[in-house]
Amino acid sequence: MTVQAWTFALVSLSFALYIGIAIWSRANSTSEFYVAGKGVHPVANGMATAADWMSAASFISMAGIISFLGYDGSVYLMGWTGGYVLLALLLAPYLRKFGAFTVPDFVGDRYYSQAARMVAVVCAIFVSFTYVAGQMRGVGIVFSRFLEIDITLGVIIGMGIVFFYAVLGGMKGITYTQVAQYCVLIFAYTVPAIFLSLLITGNPIPQFGFGGAEQETGTYLLDHLNRLHEELGFAAYTGGTKTTIDIFAITAALMVGTAGLPHVIIRFYTVPKVRDARISAGWALMFIAILYTVAPAVAVFARTNLLNTVVNEPYAEMPEWFTKWETTGLITFEDHNNDGLIQYVGPAATAASGEPLQNELTIDRDIMVLANPEIARLPNWVIALVAAGGLAAALSTAAGLLLVVSTAVSHDLLKRGLRPKITEKGELVAARISAAVAVIIAGYLGINPFAFVAEVVAFAFGLAAASFFPVIILGIFSKRLNREGAIAGMLVGITFTAAYIVYFKFVNPAANVADNWWFGISPEGIGTVGMALNFAVALVVSRFTAPPPEHVQSIVERIRVPRESGETHQTAEA
């Protein structure tokens, strides 16, 4: 069977599975639609959270980025996993005890303020939309490359599937499809990695393999790669080029941003008990860690294979995958010196005469994971599996994000804001309509992406770090923090972070170099500073304004313990 036939078969099979699950797990109440009736088993919730979290970026782009950045890519590995420790220790159990449906719910109730709720709603919607646009784009790329159909048609098919199970099933449908999607995506990610690891190092476990020796030469893979990098004028693979403070700030912004992302937090509302919220964060991270510890191995294998295949080889003899990706425009070759050989070199490369060498090959980092199995000449079904996995990753994240948007509209904006008298049935209809509208907008953004999708993702994390994280933490750990402090903190955090990112990314991109950054911190890492400002402003303003009312302080007391004196289980249904 050809790759295309395999892809078609595997993708259709997985889609049929998702649709089947959606029909089986329809939502009949708002509680089922928003939080799956709070009846999800912690292990299932862990898998669903993992699929929810691992997006097209994690599956398709991350290993590729690491393979080009080397050590600097560690910011994504630590940043996108370390946040779960914060979630499990500082947020998830308390938010579950609080027993709300959404993040703005918590912010609005804890800070007894509609204004705070609305700030949170706007942030939640903005963060989720910037994120979802990237997912739909990922769906389009997979479809166009592997099934060779138009990106627009690919996005529409993807929209149709998400529409079906998100609108019909709400959180309940999404949760159980995400469990299936996790299984598909992790299988699709690890199988090629195991193949590669065996081929290159003879070790079946990729996590160990990339620290091992190459079978052919007997030298350690990382040493070989460092040497190749030096010869070609790139920075050492295990060394990197970013400054320590920037690495620190970016890692912190990603960690804290992860812990503040509404579509992640909301997953911890779906389990029956506080205890389950703690443990499901553990399961989630374990399932995530499987992919995240394999990714740096894939990065090293991909880099080695790529360099071995292209460096100083004749352009005319490039394999089929090379020309296929060339037609998508994601690989470009320009033969500056007209010698017919591919001169792939880094910025520090010089010829023997001391003349600087010109790089002739540009490779889009996003293709590395998708192209990897082909570069290593793995069987066709493995290549097709990667396509199905990429779709699972993109669709599962898109669905989780769309749910946040729809609950933000139907629950936070209508029920708790503009139309408090709306009936349960009316709210459910509103939730479905807003989910449907959100799918269509997301699809539109997938077909007509802004040129700056990657830039807005930095935005999403920076804003989540600078807005939600401090006010939620302080809302739990400080009884004294009041409405004025929270609102002032959020506004300062958001305004500062947004202004910094907008200036360097959109207003004056030419100035986006280390010399102009404050304290040497890039726009990707500035959320850390925004978060610190939010904390500081919130604490200072609270100190000089009236303390929160008695009943709010007793809410804080209440969420700190899983069960109070004489309390049976009524808060679970609150």
Binding site: Y71, V85, L89, K273, R275, A281, H569
Partner: protein
Amino acid sequence: MSHPDYSSDSNLVREDQTRSEYWRRNLQYVGILLSIWFAVSYGAGILFVDTLNEITVPGTGFPLGFWFAQQGSIYVFVVLIFVYVFLMNRLDRAFKVDEIEEVDE
């Protein structure tokens, strides 16, 4: 350690004390675990990465700092959460604030 029986005012005062003791212990656990969290990622993986890179993980090609940044910190993160879950479940039971199992479970 005695547990309150919630029947009189003096017991309510005692309940307050047990509750703040529970919270203090919780913060202690969180403090210790987050120090480890910080040490393996920001410490070993970022601030001291160059020093640690001079050591190679025995039997492999991994420079130690690089290994912490791309592998080790993630393994430790997973362990930290499960340790916290274990400690807190034990604490919940000791202070009798653990959630009651529902009949249908």
